[in-house]
């Protein structure tokens, strides 16, 4: 049994407290994220997704409550070192991470994280190369300036920069935003692969197709509160709740629901195209069986 990787208790966060601009971004969040799973975090812009993730990465100090990652627990009174520890456990790929590149060459930029963790030059270089290879980044571009690369390549370098730190938990904030269909597919395959290798993955996304296809657990945030926490199946099965949160089920689910409305018997909500095809085949077989 895998222990919970992240445990969040009664967590609240207020931006600029005690000023005219005070803003409660999160209130009373209680969440458990199991290790070695993919958790999708969804919700509208401003629902508190990014704030929650920054808290998990120890970038913000909670106003109330606690966060436990592995054996490290932080509360509003924790020391700086505790928050730094949190950051060592968690890798965070920000939205549009290519905007954080700064070094003279690709390889040096990827080595930045490992070196900050106190690795030796050689170990950092090894990690960096491994990470770049995982993202199938062309070897002949390692010494190139990151600013001469295309947008998609820059994204890979930035993600490699986080992977090179070899975090147990990886947070990805809309990693596929702005990528072409191929880039999107490759990146999601990598996410799947990392998950199979035992990493805990938290994926912030607006793409319900990604949620359905990859996530083990879905957390929907709305106005800084947890509006739903469960499996993608449960989420997409309840249309009235979906509507209340303001979400639309993925196309495969909607397709199956349309079929159901027409009286076709679907046993299991299909989370991707393959599953949908299987369901249809099952129904078809059933029908020909009837004919005989």
């Amino acid at each position: 049994m895998v222990e919970p990787a992240i445990k969040i208790e009664d967590l609240s966060y207020i931006y600029s407290p005690e000023t005219a601009f005070a803003y409660q971004a999160l209130s009373n969040i209680n969440l458990t994220i199991q290790g070695e799973t993919i958790t999708a975090v969804i919700g509208h812009t401003g629902s508190g997704k990014s704030t929650l993730m920054q808290l998990v990465d120890g970038l913000l100090i909670p106003t109330n409550g606690s966060i436990t990652v592995g054996k490290v627990k932080v509360t509003p009174n924790s020391s700086k070192e505790d928050f730094a520890q949190l950051r060592n456990h968690v890798g965070f790929v920000f939205q549009f991470p290519e905007s954080q590149l700064f070094a003279d060459s690709v390889i040096q930029d990827v080595m930045f994280g490992p070196l900050n963790l106190g690795m030796s030059e050689n170990a950092a270089r090894r990690n960096a190369k491994e990470a770049l290879e995982r993202l199938s980044f062309p070897t002949n571009l390692y010494e190139r300036s990151p600013f001469e690369l295309s947008g998609g390549q820059m994204r890979r370098v930035a993600i490699a920069g986080v992977l090179a730190m070899d975090p147990k938990i990886l947070i990805l904030d809309e990693p596929t935003a702005g990528l072409d269909p191929n880039g999107r597919k490759e990146l999601m395959q990598l996410v799947q692969q990392l998950h199979e290798e035992g990493k805990t993955i938290i994926l912030i996304t607006h793409q319900m197709e990604q949620v359905a296809e990859y996530a083990d657990q879905v957390v929907a945030l709305s106005h800084g509160q947890v509006a739903f926490n469960g499996s993608p199946h449960e989420l997409f099965d309840d249309q009235s709740r979906l509507q209340k949160i303001g979400l639309v089920a993925p196309q495969t689910v909607r397709f199956a629901q349309k079929l159901q409305e027409q009286g076709v018997h679907i046993t299991k909500l299909p989370m991707n195209v393959d599953e949908l095809a299987e369901e249809i085949i099952k129904v078809k077989k059933g029908m020909t069986g009837y004919g005989k």
Partner: protein, 267 residues
């Protein structure tokens, strides 16, 4: 933004000062700074301080905001006051060591200096907490209009100014995001000596410059796509109108100034 009270940021309390014409507020702020340099006696300083306190109360903005402004520049004030204290001559000498000395004139001068700093910072804070940056830009543009006759490109300068002001919060939040991204990559900004800390700014400044240039280019294209021509006369969406309360406020400031000069001459 973060958790800090950012000094001088607009606070929407909709007080009487908020509703005054930004041109008036800008000119009064400027005039007050000039007056501060005329105040060189106990009474005139008390008078200016009293006036400032009334402004602060009228603005309905918490004293904490004003205090944070002075706190930010505290070191500058202290260092300047110490220089004034140790290097002035005149009056009774209390203490002397080589070229350093503390004299009665020096003490008085450094107290006035501290007050001047505090007054100037606070009056500027009164202006910025009660006036949005857009209003300020409008006011400056208006006040610069006469310069058109000596061929100063007032329209362009005003556009530059309002764009610059408009992007300050954007860039601030960008700095925050980039810093967070680098902190997530294991960077610790709070450790190391001055030189090490300066070096740590590189991973923040370079991405910031890159994105700022990119943003400037995109903005320029977007403006041209919408037909912006820097040489054309522009009309205003927000028209500044001088109201009777602005006239009363102006008269009040004239009265304040007369009292100040009277105090200076009579005592």
């Amino acid at each position: 933004m973060g958790n800090k009270v950012i000094f001088g940021i607009y606070v929407p309390t909709n007080s009487i000062i908020h509703r005054l014409d930004p041109r008036l507020k800008f000119m009064v702020c400027f005039w007050y700074v000039i007056l501060v340099f005329f105040a060189n006696s106990v009474l005139t300083n008390i008078w200016l301080g009293l006036v400032l306190l009334i402004f602060m109360r009228l603005s309905k903005v918490s004293t904490k905001m004003y205090w944070s402004g002075i706190k930010t520049l505290m070191w500058v004030i202290i260092v300047t006051a110490l220089v004034q204290l140790f290097f002035s001559a005149g009056g009774h000498t209390y203490w002397q060591w080589h070229f350093l000395s503390i004299t009665s004139a020096g003490i008085v001068q450094s107290i006035y200096l501290i007050l001047r700093f505090a007054y100037i910072i606070t009056i500027s804070t009164v202006l910025t907490v009660t006036t949005t940056t857009l209003q300020l830009a409008d006011a400056i543009e208006h006040l610069m209009k006469p310069l058109k006759y000596i061929k100063v490109p007032v329209n362009q300068i005003a556009m530059m100014l309002s764009i610059a002001l408009r992007f300050i919060p954007t860039i601030m939040s960008e700095v925050q995001t980039i810093m967070n991204a680098q902190r997530a990559r294991g960077m610790d900004f709070s450790q190391g000596n001055l030189f090490q800390r300066a070096k740590k700014l590189v991973p923040v400044m370079i991405p910031l410059f890159v994105s700022s240039f990119k943003r400037a280019e995109e903005l320029a294209i977007a403006m041209e796509a919408r037909g912006y021509d820097p040489n054309r006369e522009r009309t205003k969406y927000r028209v500044l109108t001088w109201q009777s309360r602005d006239t009363y406020a102006l008269l009040l400031v004239v009265l304040i100034s007369i009292i100040l000069f009277a105090l200076k001459i009579v005592f």
